[in-house]
Symmetry: C2
């Protein structure tokens, strides 16, 4: 049995004491009183631990199977999916007009984190549906919305996103899938799409594919790309299911992990599709969903790390091996539990301080998205655009690293498939790749986001960090946080300055440092989060909170992060400042 219990206490702390959502002037947030969010989180935690987590190993071991053109999901997934639907968990932040519950996205993220920790592969079936739902909700006609959304909100119908083709992933301009316009206003879609998560399965009555394809007259490259709705079963005028569309599963991918999710090659053979949004504006339509989708992947990164961390803590308290160097701590036992050893502590602290920082960072990002969508806040829009590649790239890199480290705590046992650690590592690995590989996130950050709107958003971020530090002036307890954050923030600014100065002369000089910049910025963001969390913990203690172990532990964990992780910033800056010279020195045949 997995050792998973949703960390609802920490989520409540971030939502209510750091982000203070119930006191925030975003429409809908006023209902987010602590009692209410606690009840939602507790109920979701119960589902995560009791329904989803027990199926995680089943999904990994059994995987999905393609039989006679149909995908069969692992045993028990159908019942669990029904439980998710019955509990309304698929509809949490969806539009009430289509049957949703209209809750903030930030709360949906908190719930989603637990679901991913408990069973990442399973949660993708509804996660992808949510993405497709958002695309239709934003770009669909009224008729499209009323046809598809009510069924997608409940996950009676699920959704997919079809971008990648065998020869193109990052560079979608090379796309070959074609859309031929028909007299009735529909299109015939022909082509092959690969890596389609939840592309087909037995959990829903219909699958609504959103497919990027080239319609005539759009010009070269990505300019000619449009987005189409291509249902597995056509939908009759009365909403009932009609004939089977000409879309089929060519193959199920054998993957390193997330075996419980069906990753499909999808063949479209003159399949009937309908334009979603404007003709030849498919890329733009996809990109409006990008922040949310990428934040969701960043969340996967740390959510799997949380699950792995919980296992590591349980093992470290249980496994007896060696004695504490400062004297036996469990003299009545044959040996001390390994949690007494400083190097095991180091690993657990790395994990804990990352996961908690990442949670705050992701919830903050989700809160910014709420601010954009529910309050039309333009500054928040710029800020979350800037943060999105960092949330995706940094949190998935570190999330994987964390899972690997949690596995290390188990020694040889962690390498066997008898324990859940191999699966966590293998599952976590994909988050660094899909939804834009992390190198692409770094390119997006340095090549586009830094300079967006004249660099306004990154300047606003620097000001925010500065103001945060200034607000704690004179508070001795906050000095370990603000001192480290100031240094790191200056290093980040120096890196940005280097890009501005050298990138003018040689764009490779900036791009050679993009990955390090993404990590440097990730550390500054988590440093900012830890500063805010430490402050919130101090406030709680000052106000006489009785759970001192939690708040003091929070501050100590933050101090670990500042002391032990922020020194990475100087390394990243040093690498960045070496520019492109050594990176680009070799001719191709010297590799």
């Amino acid at each position: 049995m997995p050792n998973f219990t949703a960390n609802t206490k920490d989520m409540q702390f971030v939502l209510q004491e750091v982000l203070k959502i119930s006191q925030t002037d975003i429409p809908g947030y006023e209902d987010m009183e602590p009692d209410f969010t606690e009840a939602v989180l507790d109920a979701a935690g119960k589902v995560s631990a009791e329904v989803l987590a027990p199926l995680n190993e089943v999904g990994d071991k059994e995987g999905c199977v393609l039989e006679n053109g149909m995908v069969r999901t692992p045993k028990g997934f159908d019942k669990a999916f029904a439980a998710m639907k019955d509990g309304g968990w698929t509809a949490l932040d969806c539009d009430p007009e289509y049957g949703g519950q209209g809750m903030p996205y930030v709360l949906n993220c908190a719930v989603g984190e637990m679901f991913v920790s408990a069973n990442m592969a399973f949660n993708m079936y509804q996660g992808l549906t949510h993405g497709a739902y958002s695309a239709i909700h934003t770009h669909g006609t009224d008729a499209q919305k009323s046809t598809y959304l009510p069924k997608m909100v409940t996950c009676d119908w699920t959704g997919t996103m079809n971008l990648t083709e065998p020869h193109c992933g990052t560079d979608l301009g090379l796309m070959r899938t074609k859309a031929e316009p028909q007299d009735d206003g529909s299109y015939l879609i022909t082509g092959t799409k690969i890596f389609i998560s939840a592309g087909d399965h037995d959990l829903s009555d219909n699958v609504i594919h959103l497919v990027l394809a080239k319609a005539p007259g759009g010009g070269e490259g990505t300019k000619g790309v449009s987005l189409f709705i291509v249902p597995k079963f056509l939908v009759n005028d009365d909403g009932s299911l009609g004939e089977r569309n000409a879309v089929s599963v060519g193959k199920l991918e054998e993957k390193m992990g997330i075996h419980g999710n069906a990753t499909c090659v999808m063949n479209y053979d003159s399949a009937k599709g309908w334009l979603l949004g404007d003709l030849h504006k498919g890329m733009r339509a996809m990109f409006t969903m990008m922040n949310e989708a990428r934040l969701g992947v960043g969340l996967q990164g740390y959510a799997v790390a949380e699950a792995a961390y919980q296992e590591a803590v349980a093992y470290a308290k249980d496994r007896l091996q060696g004695r504490a160097v400062t004297g036996a701590e469990a003299p009545d036992k044959a040996a001390d539990p390994i949690i007494v050893h400083p190097d095991v502590r180091r690993m657990l602290m790395d994990q804990k301080s990352f996961v908690e920082g990442a949670r705050a960072f992701t919830f903050w990002g989700a809160h910014l998205i709420d601010r954009v969508h529910k309050a039309g806040d333009k500054d928040a829009d710029g800020l979350i655009s800037l943060m999105t590649p960092v949330i995706k790239g940094f949190l998935t890199d570190k999330g994987f690293e964390t899972a690997v480290q949690a596995q290390q705590v188990f020694g040889g046992h962690g390498y066997t498939e008898d324990w859940p650690m191999s699966q966590h590592v293998r599952d976590a690995r994909i988050a660094m790749i899909y939804e834009g590989a992390n190198g692409i996130q770094a390119l997006d950050l340095v090549g586009r986001k830094l300079a967006q709107d004249g660099g306004k958003h990154v300047m606003a971020f620097f000001e925010m960090v500065k103001a945060e530090c200034k607000s704690h002036d004179g508070d001795e307890r906050m000095k370990p946080f603000t001192d480290a954050l100031k240094v790191a923030s200056k290093q980040l600014q120096a890196a940005g300055m280097f890009f501005m100065q050298s990138g003018m002369k040689n764009p490779n000089a900036a791009l050679s440092g993009s990955y390090d910049f993404m990590h440097l910025m990730g550390h500054v963001c988590l440093g900012l989060m830890w500063t805010r969390m430490a402050k919130a913990a101090n406030v709680a203690l000052d106000n006489g909170a009785t759970d001192t172990a939690f708040y003091e532990g929070k501050i100590a964990t933050g101090r670990y992060y500042m002391a032990r992780q922020l020194p990475a910033c100087a390394m990243h800056l040093a690498r960045i400042e070496t520019g492109a010279e050594t990176v680009m020195a070799l001719a191709e045949d010297q590799f």
Copy 2:
């Protein structure tokens, strides 16, 4: 088909131009003329690419199977094993008295690197045998040697090492396996050992298990432990195989990787065994093999990384996606190969500069072991003792990181099992764990090796680095190397100083920084290797070498390492200097 070609050119460079083995005064080295080593390396390279590499995927997909108590290895392993035996590859550095070829260990390592790159799981069958051979060779009686060694040199009989039990790995003092002395001088061994690599299989006629067990009268903990020879089939006086011993395979482990190697639970049920070496000195007997065994695992770390790197280079040259930011480089094609992009270059340069540095470091270590064994050099013994945990811990951590990065170059394709990248990552993972998990290596380094013989060996290492830098004084071409190395070496010394000062007061302060110290020292060692390689390359160019692409590429790759990797040293030092406070701050229930 795997894209694997043994990098014999680089191996020759390290052996002949950096280590200059044929000019070194170690007995046996005088025969190691360049033509000779080149011929050996080329022949081994052919076997690696043609016999072993094609079976790597087979081994992973098919794995080993336990049928009626017998382990069946993957299809083709038997023929390949026969080819290895026929080619004499199992006997390269073994004692000629027992049928070996008596070549230097350093040459055996070079050959071993290729075998591991081509097929890590397969190579373990002979690798473990070599370890058992060495133990018997060092500690066996003449009778034991003549009984077992000739068959083990040829791998007609293979060997294993049995240390771990379900409840103890690191802390062998908790061992429960018992040895009861019999009147005939033999012992009856009873107990369960786990994680026994190559514990049973169908590749050899007999398996010679070396088993740690507690014989009466040895006292508590590891003091009571002795080492025993326990053959699967007893050996008659005439050398023929006799009755089956009471040792059986309880289970084959399902693992994350190295599926081609049989990882067994071994049950000893009053199995007949014979003492190897002195009674109650089993730990010491094991430890005499430790340097070699751990160097072998460090070698696995970078050898798998080399295989992964070669795949990544091939893919990066082939995959077309996007355009170089400085203008199209393949305008005749739909897109440029991704190797034009700076961030892809960064990944490949990280990989290349690590693998080549690691190769030089490992060969240097092997050369030190030759110096100990063949020339009785005490200083070399101290130095390799100091270096062993660094070779094992640093090279396997970085080797895994490198394999993960090589996988990243493939984007989504790297996550599927259609490409070899998932296997390389999954295989590389174990090297961080077995033969002493890397945290234990760091503990060994900081807790034992630094202070060994009054700190003499680490001081000698600092002097060696200093002398190396000094020897290049005035050579402008060497400045990028010596400048960076001096800084890193000072940081390493500062870390050592911190341990001395703070560790006195609180041993946790040193142990909280042990892992960072191991990495810091690893970087200094690779920096030293790159300095030596750069010098050798300059010498070759000065002497009119025609292969300027190789030597200039070598220098450029070294400059990358110095510029882009050595900045990690400051980070490790900063972490170390924070001591134990934040590491040990939490109570157990605060995790």
